[in-house]
């Protein structure tokens, strides 16, 4: 396996990195997070122009037709800047889910506006437990009722992908978030960089044409999308860890105590070194997983790779966000300094798309249990 990056891969990472370093610096990111409901529409438009909303989507549907490696390189920059855009939700999760249905007509209809960033699509990732939606057949299709308590990016998005169960069959439907009977309410969220809303459906009508897939295809596509997104999320966590390390090293270099910079104290240096160890190993894991996923490995291998990326990146984000607060000292737990934003984001990310422990248990089943052999 060759882990060298191509010139194009570096370029896409650098260009997104540079864009975000300016457009999503601490002040801009805080403005978007706290004053604009966690959505930076201007930034999203710029990303759309760069093609970043369709990195791994087919060129035929306006995507860039690139691979997982490009996704994770870009994701690291998003994590590093806590960019307030629904990229993971729309470009990665919804986009991959739709593309994985293997239905050209569906792809042709839904992917181009998604890949350009014009349309933001989100989906239910099951953050909080809830009752399934009630579905009734109606003349032109179905009628949906119920509450989805925690849908990411639902305020910024225009459409929502929902799997539903009708007469024992799985359907994947897409619903406009401003359709009659849809009500959205933004939830209070300690991780303000990744907004989440409650979506309430009251007698919402869904046409036959809004059904994108049926049967086993639905869960296969959703699983595929969640698994890919889990690796992408891991890369975001690496970005989170990296920014925490950079902030900390910079702080220690300038803060003087006992007559010398804190950066000269060996115990603090060792802690920074440990942060770098954790995050570089996680970065290696994410890059390795991405590269191998690009080759289309079998299901068992995908499970192992996803578990690797998710486990190592979670370890790194957990340690680095903790140490960033600690090593900043008193200012480390103030609102004004950034470490707490990363700390909250890292914690929130643990519950997304399967916790690291859940991935490990699934992998352990494959590795250890006779029945799984």
């Amino acid at each position: 396996m060759d882990l060298r990056l191509t010139e194009e891969q570096r370029q896409i990472a650098d260009s997104v990195g540079e864009l975000l370093a300016n457009a999503s610096d601490s002040a801009s990111m805080r403005r978007a997070a706290f004053d604009h409901g966690g959505f930076d529409a201007a930034l999203w438009a710029q990303l759309g122009e760069l093609g970043v909303c369709g990195i791994n989507l087919p060129e035929a549907q306006g995507g860039l037709g690139l691979g997982v490696t490009e996704l994770v390189l870009v994701a690291e920059e998003f994590g590093r800047r806590l960019a307030c855009v629904p990229w993971l939700e729309s470009a990665v999760l919804a986009g991959t889910a739709i593309a994985s249905l293997g239905d050209d007509a569906v792809a042709a209809r839904w992917l181009p506006p998604l890949a350009s960033g014009e349309r933001i699509v989100t989906l239910d990732i099951g953050l909080l437990e809830c009752a399934p939606l009630a579905v009734r057949r109606s003349a032109a299709g179905w009628q949906l009722d119920g509450v989805l308590p925690a849908i990411p990016a639902a305020m910024a998005a225009s459409s929502l992908l929902v799997p539903v169960q009708v007469d024992g069959e799985r359907l994947l439907v897409i619903v406009a978030l401003d359709a009659t009977g849809m009500a959205r309410r933004e939830r209070a969220n300690l991780d303000a960089t990744r907004p989440i809303a409650e979506v309430r459906l009251t007698a919402v009508r869904v046409d036959e044409s809004a059904c994108l897939a049926r049967g086993a295809t639905v869960d296969r596509a959703l699983d595929r999308s969640r698994q890919l997104a889990a690796v992408v999320l891991a890369s975001e966590q690496v970005g989170v860890a990296q920014q925490c390390l950079d902030l900390t090293v910079a702080h220690l270099a300038q803060r003087v105590q006992f007559g010398k910079p804190l950066a000269t104290f060996q115990a603090l240096k060792h802690r920074c070194a440990q942060m770098m160890v954790d995050l570089e190993l996680a970065r290696s894991a994410v890059l390795g997983a991405a590269r191998e996923l690009d080759g289309g490995p079998d299901e068992g291998r995908r499970l192992r790779l996803t578990t690797m990326a998710r486990s190592l990146a979670d370890d790194a984000a957990r340690y680095c966000t903790q140490e960033a607060i600690q090593l900043h000292g008193g200012v480390g737990f103030t609102w004004e300094y950034d470490p707490h934003l990363y700390f909250k984001r890292a914690q929130a990310a643990r519950s997304w798309l399967g916790t690291p422990a859940e991935w490990r248990e699934r992998f352990a089943h494959a590795l250890l249990d006779e029945a799984a052999q």
Binding site: L190, I325, G329, S351
Partner: protein, 388 residues
């Protein structure tokens, strides 16, 4: 003092608490104090006065200063039962347990007569002025200046991480009174009224979104010339003695507060199913017994204290701050993991809300009042005798 005597005293505290922590004070029940957004400081002051009327302020103070001179073991019982009965965080804590013992040790009789009664009655509140922006872990790097002008000390400078400054009447301030002096030398400990034009208080917004701490700015602030504690120039000695009083009996009250948080976590884990997860079970069980161990450690510290005043600091005392603060930080993280996605998504459940607050607020525990790093330095150098 036999266990039987303790049982009677325990019952007395319990009964008193049941009879008084009700009515207007009911909203305070179970409030944690610092870091708890439900805590109403105005009501908390009336509660302090209620406690004072009950004779529960200064329970360990000597009788000549109006205290009850209870032995340490009974003070422990009081603090434990106080918290178990839902007693709220003590707004008078800094005056009662930090300043008062220092006043008794270093204050002049007029100073004692002037300040101790207000503390004992719950009518005057104190804040502390130690840390500065450039003197965090390096406490001796004091830049706040004080000079005598006629019958007043005039103070210029800035203190930070001052809890409850906006609710307090007085602040004790370590300031440099000898121009050009270095580090531990040339300092004075002053008692300064907070409500005066020369003092500005600015809240510091924390990780929780609330403001539990403040910056206090002194611009020509004044206090009477007689209000230095100990001799001018010897402020460091006084300041260190004062910090020494911090490792006291009230840790048992804090412990009881942690036990409430633990119960809260167990309840949430049972409700949301985390209690069925084998890994969570291990972590919860470990946290619960480690908390018991903190209590054992605190009791070990107190067992020494009852015996020998002024004895050298014991090894169990050296680790006390480090172990409780790191326990609570880990507990906070466990609480967030038990909550799962609900850790960052507030809802109406008061138990979950309490756990969220602990999760975030506990991040400051390993930093204030001596960071982890300072604690480890002290342990290595003083308890283990390793060279600087």
């Amino acid at each position: 003092m036999t266990d039987r005597d303790h049982d009677a005293f325990r019952a007395e505290v319990r009964t008193w608490m049941q009879e008084h922590l009700r009515g207007e004070f009911a909203p305070l029940a179970g409030c944690g104090g610092l870091g708890d957004s439900r805590y109403d400081p105005k009501l908390a002051k009336r509660w302090e006065q209620e406690l004072a009327r009950g004779g529960w302020v200064g329970v360990g103070w000597p009788k000549e200063h109006g205290g009850r001179a209870l032995p340490l073991s009974q003070q422990v019982v009081f603090h434990e039962e106080y918290v178990r009965a839902g007693g709220p965080g003590r707004l008078g804590h800094i005056g009662e347990t930090l300043l008062a013992p220092t006043l008794m040790a270093f204050g002049t009789p007029p100073q004692q007569q002037r300040f101790l009664p207000g503390i004992l009655a719950g009518t005057e509140y104190w804040a502390q002025g130690y840390s500065e922006p450039n003197a965090g872990s390096d406490l001796a790097n004091v830049q706040t200046r004080a000079r005598l002008e006629g019958d007043s000390w005039v103070i210029d400078g800035q203190k930070t991480w001052t809890s409850w400054a906006h609710e307090s009447d007085w602040i004790f301030v370590v300031a440099r009174c000898e121009a050009g002096s270095q580090r531990h030398r040339g300092l004075v400990m002053l008692l300064v009224p907070l409500r005066q034009p020369g003092v500005t208080i600015r809240p510091i917004r924390q990780i929780t979104g609330d403001s539990e701490f403040n910056e206090v700015f002194f611009a020509g602030a004044r206090t009477e010339a007689s209000l230095h504690l100990g001799a001018p120039g010897e402020g460091w000695k006084v300041a260190m003695a004062l910090l020494g009083f911090e490792r006291g009996v009230s840790t048992l009250g804090q412990q009881a507060g942690f036990e409430r948080e633990m119960e809260c976590l167990v309840e949430v884990a049972r409700r949301n199913g985390a209690a069925r997860d084998p890994l969570m079970r291990q972590r919860i069980a470990h946290a619960a017994v480690a908390l018991d161990a903190l209590r054992c450690n605190a009791l070990r510290v107190l067992a020494q204290g009852d015996e020998a005043e002024g004895a050298p600091v014991t090894r169990e005392a050296y680790i006390a701050k480090y172990v409780w603060s790191n326990w609570r930080r880990d507990f906070g993280r466990l609480a967030a993991d038990v909550l799962g996605a609900a850790a960052t998504l507030p809802d109406d459940d008061p138990l979950a809300q309490k756990l969220r607050q602990v999760w975030l607020f506990s991040r400051s525990d390993t930093i204030y009042a001596g960071t982890n790093e300072i604690q480890l330095n002290l342990i290595a150098e003083r308890a283990l005798g390793m060279p600087r």
